[in-house]
Amino acid sequence: MLKSELASHFNHALFIPELKATNKEAVLKELLNLFVQEKYIRNPAIVLEMLHQRETLGSTGIGKGVAIPHGRTVAASDVLIAFAKSSAGIEFGAIDNKPVHLFFMVIAPPNDEGNVYLQILGSLMPIFNNPENCKRLMAVESFEEFIGIISGE
């Protein structure tokens, strides 16, 4: 997936420049709440259950201060990504045991045209191999600025 295409899946309504949450459970809920507010999801409890199960499978805290909670659910009709940042950092059980600052929540329906969901997960991962990107994302304040980094500008 091209960076510009990845960028097109983000939405300014699903963007939190500074999280209120201070623990793992609260982060998942705060992010999910965005999807509810924007009417993408009606039943957050079902989606939260799925995200808990996903963490059972393995932490989505991939290290370097990044977590990508994700999954497919019957309770969603479109592939959606939310972004949130915590300057203080949150204990998320990440694979490197370090606190997480950058959160990307990817929710997808049971099936999607062209398997966009896996392509999105695949194209997010390499972004964090570049420490410069992580540093810039940590300082991000506006959605426009954020999209610039994701697009590789």
Partner: protein
């Protein structure tokens, strides 16, 4: 959370898709340490679903890959057929499980 039959089926399929795609997601670089634990959670959830309903789910899954699909704007997102208005009103309110007349999948109303 206290779930009804429909919600249990939704959760079961969410789990089944997760298990099914675990290898592909692992290849992208995600750590998968709890595969056995997730299998166990799947079996425990399946035990809470009435036998005939579970069999129906398993049969549909074997035949159509997705046994239960979202309905949005009255469209079945399994086969994209519009559902009759009478069914749509009941599908939203009732605890009963409805199926798409066209593809036979069980329906979960999103709106």
């Amino acid at each position: 959370m206290a779930m009804n039959d429909l919600e249990r089926l939704v959760s079961l399929q969410d789990l089944d898709l997760m298990i099914q795609e675990a290898d592909e997601v692992a290849k992208l670089g995600f750590a998968m340490t709890g595969y056995a634990e997730l299998q166990k959670a799947r079996e425990e959830l399946a035990m809470q679903i009435r036998k005939p309903l579970l069999s129906r789910y398993e049969r549909l899954r074997a035949k159509l890959k997705r046994a239960i699909v979202p309905v949005k704007n009255d469209i079945c997102l399994g086969c994209f057929l519009r559902q009759p208005t009478s069914l749509a009103a009941r599908g939203r309110e009732d605890e009963q499980i409805f199926t798409c007349e066209n593809c036979g999948r069980m329906l979960y109303w999103l709106d």
